[in-house]
Structures are given as structure tokens and as C-alpha cells.
Amino acid sequence: MNELRATVAIVRRHIDRRFAWDFVAHAVLVGAIAFFFARLLTAWWTPLAVASALGAAMAGERSLARSLRRLTFFAMPLYGRQLARAHAVAPSLMALSVPLGYAAGAALRGAPLSPALLLATVLAALVATLVSLSSVFRDGARAALYVALAATLGAAVTVAPFALEDSVARASELAIALAAIAGFFALRAFGETLARYDPIA
């Protein structure tokens, strides 16, 4: 079994013309929020909170859940962790629409994000997305709790380093390290969830 070929096939399956439209629509919407509500969004951690909340919400969206629960994916000869890695690529790419849109909106308003803050915003969106993916195979309150956990964790691993560390470079390194650890465990948890999930009729 060529795992890379299978992964690419699954990623291509998720990334279609609709994906591109959704990416642009999300970026424009977030850019508009950053542009028009700039006076309200003055705190330095605002983009981190926005990216984290929207990243978690997009990955926990029910249409994504329906798509990933399709029987065709479960009939494929792959382990849960392999399927999880392949499934995580498209939502992670989609999550990038939030920091990119926010950065563009803020720049148009005349208050561009610093490179360190832009990096942290990207990390917040990615961590929130990866944690939130585990909500896809849950329903009701448990799914909502996972989305809330994802939004909180995405913000926490990026806000904390910048709040506690004076040096921007050190804070950025710490944020990358924390995001890598959180992302790794989130992806692992998603793989476990996928492996345990039974698509009963």
C-alpha cells in the first residue's frame, strides 16, 4: 500500500472548487470583520482569539462531519491514524483563511499585524482546527464541548507565551513548540477517535 498516494487521493477529494470558494469567502468575511471592527478589536490577543474560535468552529461544522462520516472512507484499507492525517490536511488549509483574512483586513485598515503576531494567529487557527476535528465523530453536547475546548486551547497555547515572555523571539519559539505539541496530540486523538468510530447504519 502506497500511503502517500492514498493520502494525496483523500486530500484531492476534499479540495475541490467548493473548497476554494469557501476559502475565499471565509477570508473575505474575516477580513471585513478585522477592517470594520478594528476600533473594537484593539487588544493584542484579539486576532489569536478570533483565529482560534473560527478555526474550531469551521472544523466542528456539521457538513464537514457528514463528509468525513461517508462510508467510502471507512471501507478504505487504511489505519485510523493514516486516515486522520489525510482528513486533517484540508481543514488545516481552510483554517489558514482566518489569519490570512484577518491580516489583510487589519493591513487595509492601516494596523498590520506584526510577523510574530501573524505567526501566532496561524498557530492558533491550526491548533484549534486539529483539536476540533475530534468533534466530527461526536454529536450533541460532546461535540460542542470539543469545539469549545479547541477554541480555548488554540488561544491558550499562543496567548500564554506572548503574555509571559518579554522577548518576542522567545515567545514565538515557545508558541511554535507548544502548538507543535498540542497539534501532535490533537492529531493522535483524532486518529484514535476515527479508529474507534463504528459507522453503523
Binding site: M1, N2, R5, A6, V8, A9, I10, R13, L71, T72, F74, A75, M76, P77, L78, Y79, Q82, D198, P199, I200, A201
Partner: protein, 185 residues
């Protein structure tokens, strides 16, 4: 050669119970798993195809246990869902290409094989699902509640594969207690 074996396999969840079943399926043979309702029959089919893990008992595809080595088991089974494949011709070709990538097959050979199956079986939704299941070279085919006549046509296509299929049949009502009593003298 044994291609599929179920040993006291069952599934139980709050709102769903799959009656325990056991069978041994050899290459070229067919077996039918009967369940009391459609949902249980579909779940039983998915269990045989390593998609759903049995909550009791074990299922082996060849030498691989479906709970412990699902990818190896799935690689050897073609699964046909009762809903069939509803997409149009383009969607079907895309699905074949997708499966060829995932199963690491030659894309043009996979398309050719799928077309051959459709030419023999016909182009309905269920037949399309069979064609997709047979894109890879499988030792067993698991069909969820096939229509009458499908099995015979499928046997002609895969004479050496084991074919397991499910059927939903209501459990016959027990006779009235009075009828079980010995006749009065």
C-alpha cells in the same frame, strides 16, 4: 481456502442489536446472514467487511482479524452498500480513480475493469456499487441486502471469490402458548 469466517460475531448498542452469527466461507462459495431488520442486516454486512468492529465474537478475512488488522482485512474484501452508488457517470469515474489511488492500482486498468463489470451487470446504483467493490482484486465480496438475481450475475463475474450477503427477515412470531400445550384428552 477460507476467505471469510465469523465466530459468534454480534453487535450491541443502545438502539441496535445484531443477532450473533457464525459461518465459514470458502473461495467460490456463498453465504447469507439473516438479521431481524434492515439496520441490523446492514451492520452485519459492515462487520463482515471490517468497517464495523463486532462487540462480541470475531471475524476473520483470510487470516486477518477485522478488529486487530482492519486495513489488511479491508484490502481483501469488496463491500457493497445497500444504497448503492447514486452519483452520475462522471462521479462514478472519479470514484473509480479515487479507489485506484487508495488501493494503489493502475488507474486505466481500474477504469477498464469497472466498465467491464457494468457491461455485465447493468448500470443501476447497486450494480455501480458492485463495480466499485470489484475495482481491486478481492478474495470476498460482501453485499448488503442485494436484490434478487444479483448474486447469480455476480457469481459469473467472480467465480473464485467468496460471496457473503445479508438479508432482513422478520423473526417469525412464536406460536400461541395454547398451541404448545398437549391436546386435551
Amino acid at each position: 481456502m477460507i476467505v471469510l469466517r465469523a465466530v459468534e460475531a454480534g453487535f450491541s448498542r443502545d438502539d441496535l442489536t445484531v443477532e450473533t452469527f457464525s459461518f465459514t466461507l470458502r473461495a467460490g462459495e456463498s453465504v447469507c446472514v439473516v438479521q431481524p431488520n434492515a439496520r441490523a442486516a446492514s451492520t452485519a454486512a459492515r462487520m463482515c467487511a471490517a468497517i464495523v468492529k463486532p462487540s462480541t465474537g470475531t471475524i476473520f478475512v483470510g487470516e486477518y482479524e477485522t478488529r486487530l488488522q482492519p486495513p489488511e482485512a479491508k484490502r481483501r474484501v469488496g463491500f457493497v452498500d445497500a444504497a448503492g452508488f447514486e452519483g452520475d457517470d462522471h462521479a462514478f469515474r472519479c470514484e473509480v480513480a479515487f479507489r485506484a489511488d487508495v488501493w494503489n492500482l493502475d488507474p486505466s486498468a481500474a477504469q477498464e475493469r469497472a466498465r467491464g463489470v457494468l457491461a455485465t451487470l447493468g448500470g443501476g446504483a447497486y450494480e455501480r456499487a458492485i463495480a466499485l467493490a470489484l475495482v481491486a482484486d478481492v478474495a470476498a465480496v460482501v453485499l448488503d441486502r442485494p436484490a434478487p438475481g444479483v448474486l447469480e450475475r455476480l457469481r459469473g463475474l467472480v467465480p473464485l471469490a467468496g460471496i457473503a450477503h445479508t438479508r432482513a427477515a422478520p423473526v417469525p412470531a412464536l406460536p400461541e402458548p395454547a398451541l404448545l400445550l398437549p391436546a386435551a384428552r
